[in-house]
Symmetry: C2
Subunit: 335 residues, 2 copies
């Protein structure tokens, strides 16, 4: 079924500080699809879902599904459902992440677990997963489902590996990249492939949009890791240094530990610290002093370049432009 | 694909105290299918899955899928996968339940959350959900998936309602039945329908096996609720009165509150209690004294009778007999 009921909207959440140059009627369309999918929920489930939806996330994943698909065909209800399912899965993983991290703030607002407690948050996440699969299975989006299942499996594995490596300062670059691939990049790749698949793209194109999503995902997570050190608290809506405080070793710290001049001092701090707060304070100082933040940003920029190279091999359209634009804007993101 | 590699096995977990009269090669077959589905897991995920699987659950849900299907056709890989998926979903929900209830014991063994912590347990549950859907989507079991999605959505809603009604002693019978339908009975109904669907059963038969599963599920949950008051700790592998201690109002308590003679005394205890332990002690005494346990058991027996009536309208076979036998044995279960 071809749909033609786009409405005008203003922009992407995380671009709100930017001039509103991006024309994105798709966003409003998506938003309605997400609300619709959750419209039969009631009681506390409904309240929790509303709370999460009103947080107005960036909707990057469903937009990736949508635009990756629109490159190859018009807007169908299948494509829309595939996009909504991706956002529901993302929402579910965020709710569970907050339980895991014991976070009290999400997108400037109290998290579900802090408002309703862990019981509700675990179940709300499960409910959202079930909703996503319900949407895909009742519309026989088997191909898209395979991608989403791949994404969820990897997210779980990535999060478990991360938890397993808490305060492991011997974590190498390879292990870091492997972990962020599973945690973030594969999901973004799967979103792109899910959209392209729903629009009947051929194997070569599926591979290319997947590569684009994967590279975009690496850059996305690296910038996330950078923002944990340098982001403005009032823009991010959460405190800084959460990763390090929880023992998650990210790119800036790995680069610091391998730094010719500051590496040995960093290792000394790790050996001698008496409290996590002291460890965090001292390492954060060194991270800023050593220039590793710029290096980490260079790595992110390289991934963005690679992502855009994949796009150059796709058919040109305003949707390919959207994906290119999204990649560029990612480097400017502040939350 | 028709499969013919059944192996001999001895019996159902919860029938181990019973004479081994039931010939169940399907159980071993299922067991191998479950291990196989999880064979690509590694690290902590693998350890957690092994821990859960070694707990040797009753495998009621996959056996329901399998035998409900075998009434209508031979053993196919589709049917086997549908059965394995049901058990993976059940395992996932158990792991999440233990996080929610903060339980430290599951099937005589430490729970996943107590051995690995909540982070791993939440993720392990998500991983198992993803595995189940992976199994169904890669085998295009769309119909079965619809049933499983219905089951998960209802389980979440039921658990949330239960949490929402903690220590609500005004909970009526209707609300109780509605809650246990969502928590337990619909899942069992969906297992039966999933199996029958995978075997190409027609609408009327789908409805009948579903009704059987629903009634069986009501009885199953009511007996579970009874065992929380009267079960032998060493057989159940967990302490008694957990429901009441957590504020979950189950059938024996509802019957007690509506009891002509003991109801008013029970309400008085609820009004005047000074601690949960005191409340539990006094209510438990009254539950045993008032004879409501027998009444609750009568209700369970009625559901079993209804379940068996549905079976009498199905084609006769050793698999219909299995389902009938399972219903009868349920009334004898001690854990």
């Amino acid at each position: 079924m071809l749909l033609n009921n786009f409405q005008q909207d203003t922009g992407l959440g995380f671009l709100e500080q930017e001039p509103k140059t991006v024309d994105l009627p798709e966003l409003e369309f998506l938003e309605r699809g997400i609300w619709e999918a959750l419209s039969d929920s009631e009681g506390p489930v409904r309240e929790m879902c509303s709370h999460i939806l009103n947080g107005r996330g960036k909707r990057i994943r469903p937009l990736l599904v949508l635009h990756s698909g629109l490159i190859f065909s018009g807007l169908t209800s299948e494509l829309r459902n595939a996009a909504v399912a991706a956002e529901l899965i993302h929402m579910a993983s965020l709710v569970h992440d907050d339980v895991i991290d014991n976070s009290s703030i999400r997108r400037h607002k109290p998290s579900v677990n802090s408002l309703w407690d862990n019981t509700y948050a675990v179940l709300c996440g499960d409910y959202l997963f079930a909703k996503a699969f319900s949407l895909m299975s009742s519309n026989t989006l088997t191909g898209c489902m395979n991608y989403m299942v791949e994404a969820i499996g990897n997210m779980c594995r990535g999060e478990i590996e991360q938890a397993n490596n808490r305060f492991n300062f011997d974590l190498g670059l390879d292990a870091y990249y492997d972990c962020i691939a599973k945690k973030t990049a594969i999901f973004l790749a799967c979103c792109c492939k899910s959209g392209a698949h729903a629009s009947g793209a051929d194997e070569l194109y599926l591979k290319l949009v997947g590569e684009y999503g994967l590279n975009l995902g690496f850059a996305f997570q690296i910038i996330d890791d950078i923002l944990d050190f340098s982001g403005r608290v009032e823009v991010m809506g959460k405190t800084r240094y959460n990763d390090l405080r929880q023992g998650n070793i990210t790119l800036p710290v790995i680069l610091l530990l391998n730094h010719d001049r500051h590496g040995p001092r960093a290792r000394d701090i790790i050996k001698r610290h008496t409290s996590v707060e002291q460890l965090v304070d001292h390492l954060v100082n060194l991270v800023h002093k050593s220039g590793v933040m710029d290096k980490a940003f260079d790595v992110a920029r390289t991934y963005i370049t690679k992502a855009k190279q994949c796009l150059s091999l796709l058919p040109g359209s305003r949707h390919t432009d959207f994906l290119r634009n999204l990649a560029d804007k990612l480097l400017l993101r502040t939350s």
